[in-house]
Structures are given as structure tokens and as C-alpha cells.
Symmetry: C2
Subunit: 228 residues, 2 copies
DNA sequence: CGTTAGGTTGAAAAGCATCAACCCGTGTGG
DNA sequence: CCACACGGGTTGATGCTTTTCAACCTAACG
């Protein structure tokens, strides 16, 4: 576990910020656990006793709204933490977490993190920045939900996940389409139709690989108001 | 200012958590400022040099999306802070802030807060909790936006702002309707129509006062799925 | 092979937005 | 003191967007 932990540390801003002693302390108390796809990591409203770091795979955070719909709040992958706020507060979980794919998580018991933060100012500060970063992501989501059409949100999602290749951009859809749809706040059918509507703009889709032949067209789409 | 500051402190979780010395230090560096309705407090992308606390009135936080729409991210009032994350990071503002009504703000220079947090663990922890609380509110917003219809969001907004009176609940709409609409992610016309649609459920509207004669009906509305 | 989960497609309906007209308090200037 | 303009809000007609429901496809798996 020692070597593994060193590797893990490199990919996690929180652990990088911790001093050597803090890191050693967290290493000893941390548990590594594998989850199968679909497995529950924790339930909404359950007592939070730990913070989680994703080592591999995808985790979805969600809530069941009063009307019974599941609202997908976020999807996290390698190097990202989740459940920090509830864990540190030791409160009831403000959302549930499921394994969206098979995944490996590092589980850090809340009391250990609290104790570590109390003695390590660097960690304390890193926690604050981690929280700020989480807030930033949520603000981005809200901006998209309130001011962009479904088509624009799909296009923005593609652009955000695109990598540069020889001819245009390539996107490897990171997880299943029904999760992408839920993340964007639309139904799977609408996502499918939105992707079709992008084809005339030079977007080709085959399975979970999307090619964007002409990024400028998408840029124009994102810039034009709903009326156009 | 000394007496005023003591009063202010009582209404602000952040200042309450600070030790006496820290508080005195912040008091000396804090500036009080009045803003007129519509006045800009800071612009999106401007350099953040302070954190703000609302003493009186309403402040709206917003972003202009790439397509030109303004996305209302939040509205804050007495006792609430905003711009903490950007202020502490000293980064570019991740949103703009305007006075939604005439308002008084306490402006805390970022360097002072940073220095205060470095020496006062209580303040440091309070900052973390303030950030967590902000995250909670954003998660609530996202849940509503992704899983509730416009009508349900309006009903939920009313319930969230209602006070108990002799016959049913009373809501005093806290700010202008076009701001409520923007907050809920709908157009003013849709808000107006949604309120009309609630009338048969025992909701009466006169100006900015809403009476909910039969809260159970709204509860049922919030619980029923979109299909019903 | 048959089954199943994830995805796509089509037709119809619902939900919001848009545009335009209108209403009504408020404040202003003649 | 009245006329007028103005901002905020409402209402109606219409159209676009997204959902719903159903059928269907296809790759993966037992």
C-alpha cells in the first residue's frame, strides 16, 4: 500500500498539499475499496463518516427529488474527491453516491481528516480550495441549466470533453449516454436527438466516439441566442 | 463604527466564529458602503480584492453566458456573505454582483481575511463551513432545475419563503418578480402564469403578498411526478 | 439463440418561450 | 393638478422545444 499511496498522492491535490506526517497518518487510516458497477457507495441522509477519493472508474452523485425524479448532481473520476463537506461535518449525507462503473475508491475516515486538518494548516487550506473548486463546478452547471438550450448544453459538453487530433477534435464519451443526459438535465431521447441535430454541423458519432470536424460551427452555436 | 460592528457580528456566522483579536483586526480594515439599486458591486472577471457581507438589502450574483443570456446564480441578503471564494483566492471574479435593491455592504479586504484566517483556526474553520453551506444551496438549486417543472419550482419557492400565520401560510415575495423568475430559471411571463395556475389550489396573490390557504395541496403538487 | 440493457427513431402532447398588446402604480414636468 | 412616460407585471395567441409513449434496433452475454 505504501507505494500505491505515493502514486495516489500525486494525483490528488488534497493529499499533495498535506505535509509528510499528515500524509503518513492518512495513509494508515485510509482504506481502499472496490465497488462494482451500480453498487451503492452511500445513501442520501445516511450518516457521513468518511470522505472519498476516486482512484479509478466513475462515481455518480444524485438526489431523489420530492416528486420521485432522480437528479444527477455530479460525476467524478480519478483524482477527484467527493463527500468532503458531509464527511467533515459528520452530518447526514446531502446526496447519495453510486458506482457508475466498476471503481476503486480511497476511503478516508472523517475523524482522521478532521484531526489532520487541525494540525496541518496546508491541508486545511487545501480543503478550503477543494470546496471552492466544487462550488465553481456547480456554478458552471447552474449557468448552463439556466441560460442554455438543451442543444447548446450538449454542444458545450462535447467541447468541454474534446481532445485535439489531426483533423478536428475528438471526444470519447466518458460514460453512458443516459448519464450524460441526466447530467445535462435532459432525457436520453433528447440527447440522442440533439446529437443528430449536430451532424449537419460537422459532428460525426459512432458509438461513444464523437468527431468534431469543424469546431467553429459549434462555437457559433454556443454563442447564438435562443431566438436565432 | 464600534457599536455597529458588534451588532453586525451577531448576524454573521463568519464574524461570530472569529476570536476577539481577529474580530478587532477585521473591524479596523472593514469598510462600509452603500449601493444604489442597480449599481454594480463588481464585474465578472475583474480582480477579486475583497469579500462582502450584506448588512441590508439584496444583492444579485450573475453571469453572462456565451449566448448572451444573463444567468442569475444567487440572491443574498442580510447576514449573508458572497464573493468569499474569489476573494480568498485573489483570482478573477467568477461572477458579477449588482445591487438588486438599495443596500449596505461590509467590505472586507481579502489580504486581511487571509491573514486573519492564518492566525485564527476558528475563522479558518468557519470559512470552510461557509463554503460548505454555499455548496448546499447550489446543490438545492441544481436539484430543482434538473428534476422539477417550472410550476413545481415556483411552488417550492413559495413554500421555502412562507411564514406561518393564523389562516395558512403567508409569503412576502422578497424581491421583484423578474428576479424570482430568473432565479427559478424561467421567464417572467411563465412565473406569472405559474402563479395563476396555483390559484385553484388555494393560493391568492396581491402585489407581493401571497397567501397559501391550503399548504397540503402544494405539498401534493411537489410530490406528484411530471406525468400526473 | 434468446434475452436484456442501452440507445435510437417516430408521432403526438405538454410545457415554456416569444411576441405583442395592455394594465397600472409611480414619478416627472408642464 | 393633470398629462404623460416609464418600469414592472399580466394576458393572449402562436410557435418552438422538450417530453412522453411506443416501437424498434443492436451489441453483449448467458
Amino acid at each position: 500500500m505504501t507505494d500505491t499511496f505515493a502514486l495516489i498522492t500525486r494525483s490528488c491535490a488534497l493529499l499533495r498539499a498535506a505535509g509528510p506526517q499528515t500524509r503518513e497518518r492518512l495513509r494508515r487510516s485510509a482504506r481502499l475499496r472496490h465497488y462494482h458497477r451500480g453498487e451503492t457507495i452511500f445513501l442520501h441522509q445516511s450518516r457521513a463518516q468518511a470522505c472519498h477519493l476516486v482512484l479509478e472508474g466513475w462515481v455518480k452523485l444524485y438526489r431523489i427529488a420530492p416528486n420521485g425524479c432522480e437528479a444527477l448532481l455530479g460525476i467524478h473520476t480519478r483524482g477527484e474527491t467527493f463527500g468532503l463537506a458531509d464527511g467533515l461535518r459528520g452530518a447526514a449525507r446531502s446526496f447519495g453516491a453510486d458506482a457508475a462503473s466498476d471503481c476503486d475508491l480511497l476511503i478516508l475516515p472523517a475523524p482522521e481528516i478532521r484531526a489532520a486538518a487541525a494540525t496541518d494548516p496546508g491541508l486545511q487550506e487545501a480543503l478550503l480550495h477543494e470546496s471552492f473548486a466544487a462550488t465553481d463546478r456547480l456554478l458552471d452547471q447552474i449557468t448552463d441549466l439556466k441560460s442554455c438550450s438543451a442543444l447548446q448544453r450538449v454542444a458545450a459538453f462535447l467541447c468541454a470533453h474534446a481532445c485535439v487530433t489531426e483533423d478536428g477534435l475528438r471526444v470519447i464519451l466518458p460514460f453512458e449516454k443516459h448519464l450524460i443526459a441526466a447530467y445535462l438535465g435532459i432525457k436520453p431521447e433528447s440527447l440522442s436527438r440533439a446529437l443528430s441535430r449536430l451532424k449537419p454541423l460537422g459532428v460525426t458519432i459512432s458509438r461513444d466516439i464523437v468527431l468534431i470536424r469543424n469546431p467553429e460551427a459549434l462555437d457559433v452555436l454556443l454563442r447564438e441566442e435562443a431566438a436565432a
